[in-house]
């Protein structure tokens, strides 16, 4: 039993002594605390009057009841709301499933991109420096010849790509 189910039983007029609930309360300090907090109200509500109305022999007041047009409209609106609520609840399930799928796909895509990025940085460090550099200029003299733009910025960028850990930004 989880805490949500325990709350259901705790706030049920006739299930407050359910053995399953009592077992849960033995092991769950959070629910035990909640029950202690709520118990005065629960006790009052459980001893509240719940007469069988028909036994009371009560009759409607002399002025009523009259079925008003407004009451019928309320009933019709409630019927529509019920249908709308059902209609809304089903797409919500689908929407949630789609959201989860999109998040998962994004996660997978990002993960794969990360792997590719790491692989790429080790194999082609200078690509990220914005040129056709394919090797570290420090270790490869040939690379210098391939440098399309021998500006200081390009050289530094090629070094950074290779020698600064990827976690450092």
């Amino acid at each position: 039993m989880n805490c949500d189910r325990a709350f259901d039983l705790m706030t049920s007029a006739d299930r407050q002594d359910d053995p399953e609930l009592l077992r849960h309360l033995e092991h769950c300090p959070r629910c035990r605390e909640m029950q202690e907090t709520l118990s005065p109200a629960l006790e009052w509500l459980s001893v509240g009057p719940q007469p069988e109305w028909s036994d009371l022999g009560l009759a409607p007041s002399e002025t009523g009841p009259l079925l008003s047009a407004q009451a019928v409209r309320i009933a019709e609106a409630a019927a529509r709301d019920l249908a709308a609520r059902r209609a809304l609840s089903l797409p919500a399930v689908y929407r949630r499933a789609i959201s989860i799928a999109v998040v998962l796909m994004c996660g997978i895509a990002l993960g794969m991109a990360g792997l590719d990025g790491n692989r790429g940085s080790s194999e082609r460090p200078a690509d990220l420096a914005g040129g056709s550099l394919s090797a570290c200029l420090w270790t490869s003299e040939n690379g210098r010849a391939q440098l399309p733009n021998s500006s200081a910025q390009a050289v530094v960028a090629s070094c950074v790509v290779c020698h600064v850990p990827p976690t450092v930004k």
Binding site: F7, A41, V47, E52, W53, A71
Partner: protein, 188 residues
């Protein structure tokens, strides 16, 4: 095996009044308890419940029996109670206290006069405490404890989520506990 609400409602839609009468028998008591608790007046509660049942019957053809009948009926009753509550504003002219005549006729209690007095006082305190709560919380408590509704039905009748309905009940109980402790301490 008794027919389900939905089967009875289909029969009622086909013109079987006895089927609707069975539905009335099933729900009238619980509806009255909630209405009386909200309105604090037995006759007014009886009127509202009667009107809710009549309205459900009058609008029976707009109801789709693939949905839960009880949710529909509770929604109607709750809205009519709220309408009546707003009209009256003062929740009960006698402070929600049960009439002595009603206490006398409660079945099977066999209480002494003192017991009845104490019980009546407790009922009075409970009703005043409920009426002092925010309306959504008090309604959720009434539906849960006097109507015996599951949280799914409370949520549908109050147009909230199930977790919202539970939250209302929880908050309502917390406030009620504080109030009842204070009031019973003050009045004892």
């Amino acid at each position: 095996m008794p027919d389900s609400d939905e089967i009875l409602m289909r029969l009622a839609q086909e013109g079987r009044t006895d089927a609707f009468e069975e539905l009335v028998r099933r729900y009238r008591g619980a509806l009255l308890r909630v209405a009386w608790s909200k309105l604090g007046d037995a006759a007014a509660a009886e009127d509202v419940v009667q009107e809710a049942l009549l309205a459900a019957y009058a609008a029976r053809h707009t109801f789709n029996p693939q949905f839960a009948f009880r949710t529909w009926l509770w929604t109607i009753a709750l809205r009519l109670c709220q309408r009546q509550w707003k009209r009256v504003k003062s929740p009960s002219q006698n402070g929600g206290m049960i009439e002595p005549a009603q206490v006398d006729s409660l079945p099977g209690l066999a209480e002494t006069g003192l017991d009845q007095l104490l019980r009546s006082e407790r009922v009075d305190v409970l009703h005043r405490a409920l009426n002092a709560l925010p309306e959504p919380q008090a309604d959720a408590l009434r539906l849960r404890f006097f109507g015996g509704l599951p949280y799914e039905d409370i949520a549908a009748a109050m147009q909230s989520s199930v977790s919202g309905a539970k939250q209302r009940v929880k908050l309502g109980l917390e406030r009620l506990a504080v109030q009842l402790r204070q009031w019973s301490g003050t009045e004892s």
